[in-house]
Symmetry: C2
């Protein structure tokens, strides 16, 4: 087929008649399919059911260092968990704090702490007239929700295929002391699925922020979430790079096992410099007596070591790879050559990013919904939900079964086509 | 023996010679005993080991309402956990949020939220010139640590055998808008082990605070932690009483299973009014995607219902009762008639409170330490660690084995006697 834009009004109208017939047929099916959130599917969850067996009433719940995991103590986590997660995050166990079940919660608390107590002796953010964060866009809506909740002004910075536009990042952080942070999902990014290039990471580690309390919020949520054995993204380890660059305190790095074992019942972690660590533990010591050590031990005994965890992730990949490929194939089959959108082909992570013609994203998502397919809300990938082009859509292929996913993505491409054809016709009418 | 105060200098000096001999003997034993924290002992932890068996790889981890506990969702907790904890807290499940592993963390976050966002539309506390909390004393050091961390001015209010001095509480909250909260451990209080009387709870529910955002922080940590089957304290349920009094939003009530199953691996909960609930969930929705539902399910399937939990608590009582009685008996045997201190005889909870002669607490604790017995730091039961009489000592009998405890408390009474005799002699010398 030829690009829609090259079709005559008549051709487009004919196309629309066909598409709408298809749409009506699909509506009659009464689908209930959800591609909105980055949730593992049941088959993925089943991979970790054996973790429910590693501890039983005969188990000795004592750690290597003699700590009884069943009692209070070990504020920063048990040593074997810090070691395993250290291997996973590529950090020294001593630079790691094991938290509770949610890395998002750690990020929230980190900003809350900066707000009430300040970072390493600097003025609490709550006492400042204005606090700003750089938000690479498209990005992760739950990050933006945290900064919005604290009234932090969010400044979008465009993502490129190698990460955020570093010319802009370098310039802004250097000239504006009110800029206190930047949200990053550096590997298999949400929603693009791309990974920051070596040059990008190098430049991050060498930022010269005007604010002494500027921090990079490095949410490495998908660090080990590859789709392919032989074709993986490698990311420069940011803490080490910051240390080499003489900026050891520049970054907070977050991770969790949420999409490795069970979302909500995994373990979350922070890796950062000794100075930052002091800052975190001063706060943590008041906030809690400690996190769930039994669950830490359960994870360690389940995986044994980083090789065990890596093998476990290969099983996830076997489930997810066909789903990502199904989406990409359908997008290719149904949309290639029409010039109505572009999309990414990630090597890992949880998302595929779709960019429609300007002004179509909301309409596409709304049409999908009316046909029983729930997508992430259009605009969600931008701060305040405001996508200036109304073009960005996050596709989350993990949760539905492969069959459901195939149905859902067909509905999606159909809606993209309808919406695009209508938009082109409307634009022409307006221009006439 | 006769009261020390009635002894002559000579008699006291003779007594001291004997006591110091004993002390030297004990020091030679090289004891390492810990009565400092409210930690369950190993036998208590063993009671919950069967909880490690209730979920295994064949288990269906689906909730009654169809929620898969292994995936994201159920922000306020799974319905069966809210029901069980509702029965435990004597509250409607719909008024309950199940949190993570630590109620202290929920209290911290609650103050942090009030600090950054304010309570129910009121000015964030961080924007006020001064924020004050009433602190019933002696009280719980970790409560005081939170308020101190936020720079909240702590005002001590004396505890009586029926709870805080309500004349003072009523007066202060009515006249000072800067007073935003009060810390309470209403049942088997920390450290007294007493429970608030009906009149006290009634008066709490009828407080007329000057501040619209004043809240009672009702930490019902020991609600089901009885020592005796047939002799238990009953506490008026505060939420219901507040509702009856027309002050439904006055209280935040906290609890957890920390000292029921495993400290650090239990589940924590909040009970409060629908208005407060809205306030909490608005915040929670941004802070996290949800808490550990697998652990919630594990607890529910272990206890089955409130009767199961009650029977479980009887087993804790069987372990703890002899410990409390051993402490009380030794205090009685070694100190009765000497007029060198008073102590409580709780029917539940985790602590016995000892009050020495004024000016002796620090010395007693220090002497104990030098003989290998660690007590809670003297002063810890007062805000800022400042006990104006230097007389209050918290005894935590739960963690050591019964034999160790018996040795430890003998050391304690010995140190009380040494310290008291020396103090009386010193006072006389000074007066002379």
């Amino acid at each position: 087929m030829k690009p829609y834009i090259e079709m005559t009004d008549e051709e487009l109208n004919e196309e629309l008649v066909q598409l709408k017939k298809e749409y009506k047929k699909i509506q009659a099916l009464g689908l209930h399919l959800d591609m909105s959130r980055g949730k593992p599917c049941q088959d993925q969850l089943d991979l970790s059911m054996a973790m429910m067996d590693v501890l039983n009433s005969d188990s000795d719940l004592t750690c290597d260092d003699g700590t009884d995991c069943r009692n209070y103590g070990a504020l920063t986590g048990i040593s074997e968990a810090r070691e395993l997660i250290g291997d996973m995050m590529e950090n020294n166990p001593k630079d790691i704090i094991i938290y509770g079940n949610s890395s998002l919660n750690v990020m929230f608390d980190t900003i809350s702490r900066a707000w009430t107590h300040g970072i390493m002796g600097n003025t609490p953010w709550g006492k400042l007239d204005e606090v700003k964060f750089l938000c690479p866009v498209p990005g992760y809506d739950r990050h933006f929700a945290i900064t919005e909740y604290f009234g932090i002004k969010m400044i979008p910075v465009m993502m490129t295929p190698t990460g955020p536009d570093m010319d802009v990042v370098e310039k802004l952080v250097a000239e504006d002391e009110a800029i206190k942070g930047i949200w990053c999902v550096p590997k298999y990014s949400n929603p693009q699925g791309i990974s920051y290039s070596d040059a990008t990471v190098r430049r991050f580690a060498r930022l010269k922020p005007a604010a002494a309390d500027f921090r990079i919020f490095w949410d490495n949520a998908y660090g080990v979430h590859h789709l392919y054995d032989d074709n993986q993204d490698y990311l420069i380890e940011i803490l080490a790079e910051c240390k080499r660059a003489g900026n050891p305190d520049l970054v907070y790095k977050f991770s969790s096992t949420s999409k490795i074992t069970f979302p909500g019942s995994g373990i979350a972690a922070l890796a950062t410099s000794p100075n930052n660590m002091d800052d975190f533990t001063k706060h943590l010591r008041i906030q809690t007596i400690g996190h769930d050590k039994v669950n830490q031990l359960r994870h360690v005994r389940f995986f044994k070591d980083i090789h065990g965890l890596t093998e476990h992730m290969r099983k996830h990949a076997d489930i997810l790879r066909p789903k990502f490929e199904a989406v990409e194939n359908t997008l290719e089959e149904d949309l290639a050559g029409l010039d109505v959108g572009t999309w990414t082909k990630p090597l890992g992570g949880y998302f595929i990013m779709f960019d429609s013609l300007p002004g179509c994203a909301k309409d596409i998502v709304s049409r999908c919904k009316k046909a029983g397919v729930v997508m992430t809300g259009a605009g969600a990938t931008w701060p305040y939900g405001l996508d200036p082009n109304d073009s960005n859509i996050r596709i989350a292929p993990t949760f539905p079964s492969l069959n459901d996913l195939k149905s859902a993505i067909k509905v999606f491409t159909l809606c993209v086509r309808i919406s695009s054809a209508k938009k082109i016709l409307a634009d022409r009418k307006e221009a006439a």
